[in-house]
Assembly symmetry: C2
């Protein structure tokens, strides 16, 4: 039989961080697409809209008026999924009906006073200010809660309901599901191999090179071997860092610069404001923050839905929901395409 080639022969790959498998069927990119096409958002966003509750000076749903902020701006989500004081559901009466208490807070963080910019169009110092705000909110909420989830839903396709550049921060009294998986995997790898899973993984990817997208003095961006979304990436510090607040000023500047490069490549891929969900994972916080979290390595996941163009996305539906994630191009092919893209934004380059 033929020699195995990952770009031609379907196979399954294991995600050791989240203990999951993905089916890689790269030959599937050859099929024609007759399904749903997303609306192309051509309407321009005004720089300032006094009716947009995320803008400086605007009035929010609860009647509060935003300050005329000039950098980032953090406030309580007016419709929080987590509130600080929910009562406890009480003991379960049956092992198949288990409910537990959930407490927390949900915040919104505006990245910039203007509605018509996105991270890749912001300057490196402006992005650096976002990183500093991420570090402070982690510190602030992490004093009380074991988990502080920073995430950005970018683009209407990712359920984002407001074009103003912003992210969310949900802190919780429990370790969320995905985090529990990462905790178990990193813990068990560390106890077996004596070093953090993601440190060894980064070392290997730097040697193998084929999945690297960007490297800098302090950071690397790669398409993980087990990526599920077509152009999914993993952003990691080179040094062993447990949480965002530990980053040095030099590491933060360098992070701002590599984020700008990555997000510019993303926008350039299909010449569109590239939608994604992204978020940070670091060691748990709260009262257990002082425990030994040596097995944890800080990282950010980027999950962008687009597959073929600005309007054709990957649907994670039937087989993926009922059986197993499936991808249509190899992680190596995705990395190669991202690597080849310019680091100057298509909206800014000369024609």
């Amino acid at each position: 039989s033929a020699a195995f080639r990952s770009s031609e022969h379907q196979h399954i790959r294991y995600n050791p961080l989240q203990d999951e498998w993905v089916l890689v069927s790269a030959h599937r990119m050859k099929r024609p697409w007759q399904g749903q096409v997303e609306p192309l958002l051509l309407k321009t966003v005004p720089r300032h809209d006094p009716l947009n509750p995320l803008c400086p000076g605007a009035t929010r749903a609860n009647g509060e008026v935003n300050p005329h902020y000039e950098g980032t701006f953090l406030f309580d989500n007016d419709f929080p999924a987590l509130q600080p004081d929910a009562p406890n559901p009480g003991p379960s009466d049956h092992p198949l009906f288990r409910a537990e208490a959930a407490r927390g807070v949900c915040k919104v963080m505006c990245f910039h006073p203007w509605s018509d910019v996105t991270l890749p169009l912001m300057s490196v110092p402006e992005i650096r200010a976002v990183i500093d705000s991420w570090a402070s909110v982690t510190e602030e909420l992490g004093a009380q809660y074991p988990w502080v989830q920073i995430f950005e839903n970018k683009g209407a396709m990712m359920g984002c309901s407001n074009p103003h550049p912003h992210c969310q921060v949900w802190a919780s009294s429990f370790l969320p599901d995905v985090v529990q998986r990462e905790e178990r995997s990193q813990q068990s790898y560390h106890s077996q191999h004596g070093e953090p899973l993601l440190i060894e993984y980064s070392r290997q990817e730097l040697l193998r090179k084929e999945r690297l997208v960007l490297t800098s003095e302090h950071w690397l961006v790669l398409v993980p071997f087990w990526a599920v979304w077509p152009f999914q990436t993993l952003l990691l510090p080179r040094r062993h860092v447990r949480r965002l607040p530990e980053l040095t000023p030099a590491e933060r500047d360098d992070l701002a610069s590599i984020m700008k490069k990555l997000l510019t490549k993303y926008d350039n891929l299909f010449e569109t404001s590239f939608p994604y969900s992204m978020g940070w994972h670091g060691a748990p916080t709260g009262s257990e923050a002082g425990a030994n979290w040596d097995h944890w390595q800080l990282h950010a996941h980027y999950y962008p839905p687009l597959l073929r163009s600005a309007t054709v996305r990957k649907f994670m539906v039937g087989y993926e929901m009922l059986a197993q994630a499936q991808r249509d191009l190899t992680p190596e092919q995705a990395a190669e395409r991202l690597r080849a893209l310019p680091e100057v934004h298509y909206c800014l380059g000369q024609k």
Copy 2:
């Protein structure tokens, strides 16, 4: 502090079948929605389109001509994610880079010769014919493969690229990820409690009643205690049945009838052809079919994306992808709404 009420107080619930947690924040339905609205598909589908490769008599991508079928019609997917003869990726050189062979087949099953019907608009005998075809394809592909995944992606929102009523069947040489989780959970519940997890679960739901949507002589439909999608349901036989081919003629007729009722309620909820992904899970097949699978109970999952109306869906994005699934109404509220809906399709009732 206040007494706990699940419809007002956020909490987390455990899914013992798939070993996952969901955050339930029912108060969140109160927030206004300003995000993406899906296109309403008002265009009518022609009953027969000679250019649609799923229609009787049409020519498919590979040049084959479909027969003038009158019931269901099963054929090989022209762009399969799984093929029977892929070579093996060979041994892994590192524990963080594990790939394994994947072999299988992908088939498409048309439910009906007409393009302008859907399951809820088909007659009970026509749905019964689909069930018989599901049973035969499970038997046929299950002779060779350990897993036969039957699934239907309905509606453009669920990535379905052809309006003709159909489902897919992907058989694989491996147990997919979600199935491995269900296997582990059911196995361990059975060894601890001496009976199948889903048998005890059904018994409890029949007693508790608040999550039941439909019951019949041989089947029940409920919104599981741990449902993630707003109107997710679980369809189960009352008898202990391991796989589709074991269903008796009476159970198949009754299944056709309860499916018609469920899918009619779904369409009636927002007066639209309700999108969803659904699929069947039964005991593994293939060479291990003869092993002891007493812990398995056959069931179907329905995962519909709509939340508020025919055009506003639930987005499983940032927090959900990075941390934990989150839902905006309780499973009990969803069950109550579904129960209250008529069993006559809104397109067929008198005005």
